[in-house]
Symmetry: C2
Subunit: 494 residues, 2 copies
Amino acid sequence: MYARPTLSGMPALDSLRERLAELSDLHALGRLAAWDQRTMMPPLGAPARANQVATLQRLLHDRETDDEIGTWLDELDGDGDALGEIDRDLIRVARRDWERARRIPKQLAGDLALAAAEGQAAWLTARAASDFAAFAPALRRNVELAREYAACFPDAAHPYDAHLADYDFGLTAERVREIFDPLAERLTALAAEAPDKPATPPLSVPLEAQQAAVDTVLKRLGVTEDSWRVDVSPHPFTSWLSAQDTRVTTRFNPEAQFESVLAAMHEYGHALYERQIPPELQRTNVGRGPSMSAHESQSKLWENHVGRNAAFAPVLAAELRAGGFDIDPEALHAAITAVEPSLIRVSADPLTYPLHIVLRFDLEVALMEGSLDVADLPAAWNDGMRRLLGVEVPDDAHGVLQDMHWSGGAFGYFPSYALGCLIAAQLWEALEAGAGAQDDALRSGDVSAIRTWLAEHVHRYGRRLDTQPLVEAATGRGIDPEPYLRFVAPFTRA
Amino acid sequence: MYARPTLSGMPALDSLRERLAELSDLHALGRLAAWDQRTMMPPLGAPARANQVATLQRLLHDRETDDEIGTWLDELDGDGDALGEIDRDLIRVARRDWERARRIPKQLAGDLALAAAEGQAAWLTARAASDFAAFAPALRRNVELAREYAACFPDAAHPYDAHLADYDFGLTAERVREIFDPLAERLTALAAEAPDKPATPPLSVPLEAQQAAVDTVLKRLGVTEDSWRVDVSPHPFTSWLSAQDTRVTTRFNPEAQFESVLAAMHEYGHALYERQIPPELQRTNVGRGPSMSAHESQSKLWENHVGRNAAFAPVLAAELRAGGFDIDPEALHAAITAVEPSLIRVSADPLTYPLHIVLRFDLEVALMEGSLDVADLPAAWNDGMRRLLGVEVPDDAHGVLQDMHWSGGAFGYFPSYALGCLIAAQLWEALEAGAGAQDDALRSGDVSAIRTWLAEHVHRYGRRLDTQPLVEAATGRGIDPEPYLRFVAPFTRA
């Protein structure tokens, strides 16, 4: 039951590793609290839970920014030759995390947490009333504090970069723009080719058939009761409490065309990533995925390149048939790849989805550099939707108020959704180039070669490689939108 | 969402209160981890969870024994007149907890945790094989460490008292013996009066009827979905994550005569205690029940004096009928109060139950003082069962190996089960003397007067009173076994 640490003969390294294990354990308890809150907690438990989580966060911040960590790191400086490869990476990442965390004054950290909590509450009310003006003061406060936060990193070329680094270390606004600008142009052109209405009417799968399909598809992918949970929550998510305790959720909408199954496959991708990180990295600071975009590449790979693969459609159709809903594989595949520019990000089709992200990226960069005022945000949003997607926004609830992220001060998070799509497609091509075309295996529902390839080319690194070097290691080149464009181009003909 | 503390103008008091709130929050997260482990966690999550919980315990121990707490307490010394009543109690209890926790060397605390974990694993195996010899070495280690622990409190009159104080501060082995010796004599005599076999055959309630009755009975007692959860676990338990987030469990055995409903009512009693502790005590060190026996008095009050009350039987019978199981109230009441001396504590009837506890108390006192060797424990157990209950123990699985407590080093815990029974009966008589006889209210399923009386006479104190002063405040006298004897005497005629 109790892990007895192996001693390295280097006291500073042992102390550092002990602290990293402690932090890893406490973060896992924080994830448990979040998982519970979203799946199990009775609603009136929320205020006390907020206190409990805030206490844990404060304690984590104290332990993560502790002077002792600096002392250990200094003692280890110059010991590089005596260290193993993993320890070298662990020390490098520990110094980076420690230095970044210490840049933030305690007062600012508290203000950020408070503004996030108050912003989320204001957003909920404002969205329900579709009233941006009611949200604007809280958003303005979050923007101000986010700019203060960015000012703690004066070396960054752009204030936005300080935020991006929290989700995707090594990326910059400039690099994201290099990727997004041509992507937006190509996707806008492709979207314009799509028919006004998809030829295929939306599916309407009975709840029982959806539930049965979620169960059998996840089992087929390797989900077992002894080390997974599958629950329901309003917004699907994944929580990894340890390598052998993985929890995914999905949601069931009687009207939704198969979303429950694709969401479950998406979350499975996040989960598999954390499960396949090597045991020797666990309870360290490199025992998880390096970034939001790397993570999203894994969820999108399973959602898009397995779930929306024409070769997998017969398997999905058979699962639905077993649940009492008859559909032929071609019709299913056409329905889940149909293109239709729309207002809401989370229900967008694969082709237009990245355009929703490009819009948010442009706007949040402008907010961070101060070239866009909060008051002008709705108009800028509506203009962007017209320009990128050709749709008219009827009200703020279906426009600028639809996402929670900014209300909680999460600037710099959005790009990972689109980068994840791009990296997934790039990995999929590399996977098929390396492990062979997967069509036959997918037709028979066999995903073992995919799991193995991902373990060897992506998951094995944990957080030892940041996103860009990871993509280079796995695919031989930097982030490249072409594979994604090749993936979505056929959908305009659906 | 975020509690902003009120400042007292006394920096040491503010710091102390802030620390106590932190500890309270972290303990709540620990309870969440334990609740999850027993209800939700996939089994292979156990080893990593053990690490996470051990990390939290280590951190809690560091924060609870911190030098700073002593500094604040010293600064507050002599400020008594300037303090409110609650703060005086809070400081008194804080000093006691801090001094007790600091008596235990870190090495011993670690050894105890390890021996407990290893002892529990050894016990599971040994019990499955009914092989005491396989458990003896682990138990011996736990006994040795428990004696070392007791030696950290040289002021205690008896080594057992140091352990008792962890569960029931203020009680001593001597006082428990004063209560238990005559109790055992009277109960043994009563048990001898009972017929060899109860006149009423055991109930066998279909699962669906049990489930329906658990739901409706708990609803009747005040359980609502917005701030409670009711789950299933192998051993029923209660977890209070905050005043508005209460989680009880029960278990359903298709063979068991109504245990699921009585267990649910028992857990409800624990839960109600914590829910009715006044808001001004929450997130302090006095914001919970003072002891295991005070807690058990609440669970037993609802199980025995409501659940096994003849006046409540018509309500329970009606709930069962609504669930499709027809039984008349008299037959139900007879079945759940039938007396039959038996081997297993957890399924013992109310009359013989305390005798199981008296045996364990005698044996663990002897183990702590060194007058009984671990090797002689099975024989002493079997002798005691013959003497107290008149039953022959066929094997150790049905004897000395049946309970987990000692395997985890929990010596001094058992008395609370019997003391809880006694205090419950004493409180019930005081309640009916103060609030009037409850028969009419119970016949109509109305428990509101009971809840209110308990809030005013027991729950309001939180941990500001220890068990004995609490019993005196609520009933006007010390712990007294007579009410319990009056409660169980009629059962011999069932």
